[in-house]
Symmetry: C2
Subunit: 146 residues, 2 copies
């Protein structure tokens, strides 16, 4: 079980990789983000991207799944008040292994509620060539060992 105290500044967690098929991309997008460059392979050819790309909400949600499986699911996580940044830096294409890594940037215990600590994470979703396709920065609340 991971508590607030385990999230020391600089600590990184490799959460593994995910890979989306064209069908995965279209299925998510039809439900949540039905823009043509996410739902229609033919129409996508005539857009800025020239091909089908994953919805940024899909990529972020897939990253979250890996983070929960690898880290938050075995922790005292109490959820997040939000992100200060969410960058969709590069398109996420079908059939590419995307690695998810989170790193602790700051950690502070609440003064008013010492049983809670806030951990600021940087999340990066990384292409096989090392380029960051998606990143975010946000706080997560954890219970302390107290």
């Amino acid at each position: 079980m991971l508590y607030f105290e385990d999230f020391t500044v600089g600590r990184s967690f490799d959460c593994g990789t995910f890979r989306l098929s064209e069908d995965d991309i279209v299925e998510f997008a039809q439900k949540y983000d039905p823009q043509r460059f996410h739902t229609d392979r033919e129409a996508a050819k005539h857009t800025l991207y020239g091909k089908l790309i994953a919805s940024g909400w899909h990529t972020a949600s897939m990253a979250m799944r890996l983070i929960v499986d690898a880290v938050f699911g075995q922790s005292t996580s109490m959820g997040s008040p939000g992100l200060t940044e969410l960058g969709w830096k590069k398109p996420v294409l079908p059939d590419v292994d995307m690695r998810v890594v989170i790193t602790v940037e700051e950690a502070r215990q609440s003064k008013s509620k010492p049983e809670i600590g806030f951990v600021l994470f940087r999340c990066e979703v990384i292409e096989p060539n090392g380029d960051v396709a998606l990143n975010w920065r946000g706080n997560v609340m954890f219970g302390t060992r107290g």
Copy 2:
């Protein structure tokens, strides 16, 4: 069809409402955010929230769907480079109608690519009592009439 020029500063779009059932919340969370306050009604009683709440990624994705249906789907949208803020201000509970409103905060035509303009939107997901449960701020690229 909405072009860059149609997104004038201050213009607001009411994108309608969505409502998530407990089953919807659990289904999304099992796939993308399996933390116990999103997936397990009984376990959620013993968390900070005291009940099942929707994943913030789910709420954001539902808002996106309404925005695409109401605005971006009938526009020259070319996607978004990211958000500068994504706030999960209040938990989103089952069976509550959440209204989605987007407002243009800034609009600027690209100097290097005058056929593209960047529109900075504020998105708000609002409870029936008027409280904002989720907000974000981010740019979307649109084709110009040019």
